[in-house]
Symmetry: C4
Subunit: 190 residues, 4 copies
């Protein structure tokens, strides 16, 4: 089964997820710089989530580049990943409007963690499909980045109740970790 | 006539339908877990409809994979299918906000039934175009799943007035029936 | 210059235009059939505009299928067409909410007329690019449908002030005229 | 690394950015021509921003046509460009609703300037990747248009506080400068 259409559909969903977050930021009803001030947390949450969806798109792109065909199970595991990512606009506007308070920050981490788990499940399925000589397996090796991310989300969820800023630091740390372009798969394909 | 662009347009529309439902779920104006409670029915309806649109995308993908070209009638029958599917976000937010009460649940079933009828009309046209040796015809055989789905919708629409939960069970049953990856066409192509 | 990306971008814009109209139809805050009644004009306007955008997508698809490459002027004429089509969701929700009253119905016709003019300008440019042996020119011949449509819009705009229903009839008539699959280009390509 | 998917994703994001601006323009609650009057500044800002996104799409299209492959850094620089462009719907509805007053007009220029800087950074990276015989480098030559645009934005940002109309003139001037189809790359490819 050809992989083009699953890529196109995922591109479409990710493009919408990354863009609809901006509709939820309403233009202020005044014309001053001060009118932008209450929007600062909303914009910060937008930047964080834009970066996360960007990371997912990049990794999804790299991952599918290494494979040649998909099957029915892959279609559903990909849909499962898109489901969790589709919740990002909701939690983004929640943390922004609630100024990064404890409960929303914890739920934000939960959505990121579930997205990461969905991603790993999909990745494992694709590795399994490629068999022993899996390019993907060789590329991610022991997937340190992935494991650290999961650990950080897992810590950030309860720690939000001690201080939401700790969770925030964890989310930023994971983003920084991944924003470095993933040369692993690129190198191997070359 | 080439099938690529009808696939691309359908992917776009389905990607938007599946994603805009989340915009209608507004972040709560408080920071507590309790603030999420009133959103539970809204989220349940989102999960159900996300799954349905996912099923339609998957089946659409499989169906078009088995064909090589399309004609003007196929373009319009596909547009007709997209029309009914485009009503899903509307009925989804209705059943969610009205806590799955009778009338919205019945109308939800009506939209699903019309979508299913539109899908079968399109499928029949494609089978007809392929002629006797139709891969699609061989793949769906007597299309038991399709017939059961239609029957379930047909029952669920009036039964919502006895108990909306019965209709809900029918909608979940149909989703479960289809979420099993459709190996029929895959097998035959192999 | 390759035509793939202009097709993909147009597909994206048209897919969004056709789908966002449904977000503007808010689910009623009650659970009765009566609660749907005030939405009837809104749904009728949705059906009409969905059909129109569907027609434009179909014709756009046929038109670009007959050509091989594009240039900078084509990119801009296509953007111009998309601009006018992007106003359709606005006028659609206006005529629906205002129960097809005179001014909105007249403006609706104006947007359709400008879209049609933008389409013809693009079409002429493409014919000009193909030169004497233009497949597109042979396909549309004297473009009767196009001319009738323009005439109908031109009449419908002022007639809305006598009776908006006359304009409505004209808009439906044009849609019916085009919904018949455009066999002209198909035939010639075969 | 193949460039198709970065084009498809960018097309999706740009198609959404260009189209969601229209959702923010709500249909008036009356049926008169006068009811459209207060929307005039909103429509003017829509036209300006539609044109800008159109220009970006056109230039993006030309730029990627001249290259053959991308790498991880290009993916991120492109994401960075899309981030700034995604802020256009926000500033567009702000300048429209605030009737082009000083602060919003200045911020509008800031978003355009950052988008332009993001575009040049991406362009430089692509030129660097192509090496000495860069088609892109030969096409843009000394990139006069780009430099003038940056200068105009840079002037328009503070000048908005003297008169927002001066800034408006600068934004229109830049749009006019680019709306002339970019024959530079086209010529060279031919």
């Amino acid at each position: 089964m050809n992989k083009n259409r699953i890529e196109a559909f995922s591109d479409g969903v990710l493009a919408i997820i990354i863009t609809i977050m901006i509709i939820e930021i309403r233009a202020p009803h005044e014309s001053s710089f001060e009118a932008l001030e209450p929007l600062i947390p909303v914009f910060l949450s937008y930047i964080l989530s834009f970066t996360y969806v960007g990371i997912y798109w990049n990794n999804h792109h790299h991952m599918f580049q290494s494979i040649k065909s998909v099957n029915g199970a892959v279609l559903w595991l990909n849909m499962h990943l898109l489901f969790w990512l589709s919740l990002i606009p909701f939690v983004t506007s929640w943390i922004g409007e609630q100024h990064f308070s404890a409960v929303p920050m914890s739920i934000y981490g939960f959505v990121l963690m579930m997205s990461a788990i969905a991603y790993f499940t999909l990745q494992n399925k694709l590795i399994h499909l490629q068999g022993k000589e899996s390019i993907l397996k060789n590329a991610i090796k022991d997937d340190k980045k992935g494991k650290i991310s999961l650990l950080f989300y897992f810590l950030a969820i309860p720690l939000a109740f001690i201080s939401p800023w700790i969770s925030g630091m964890f989310y930023i740390a994971v983003a920084v970790l991944w924003i470095v372009p993933d040369k692993r798969i690129e190198n191997l394909i070359e």
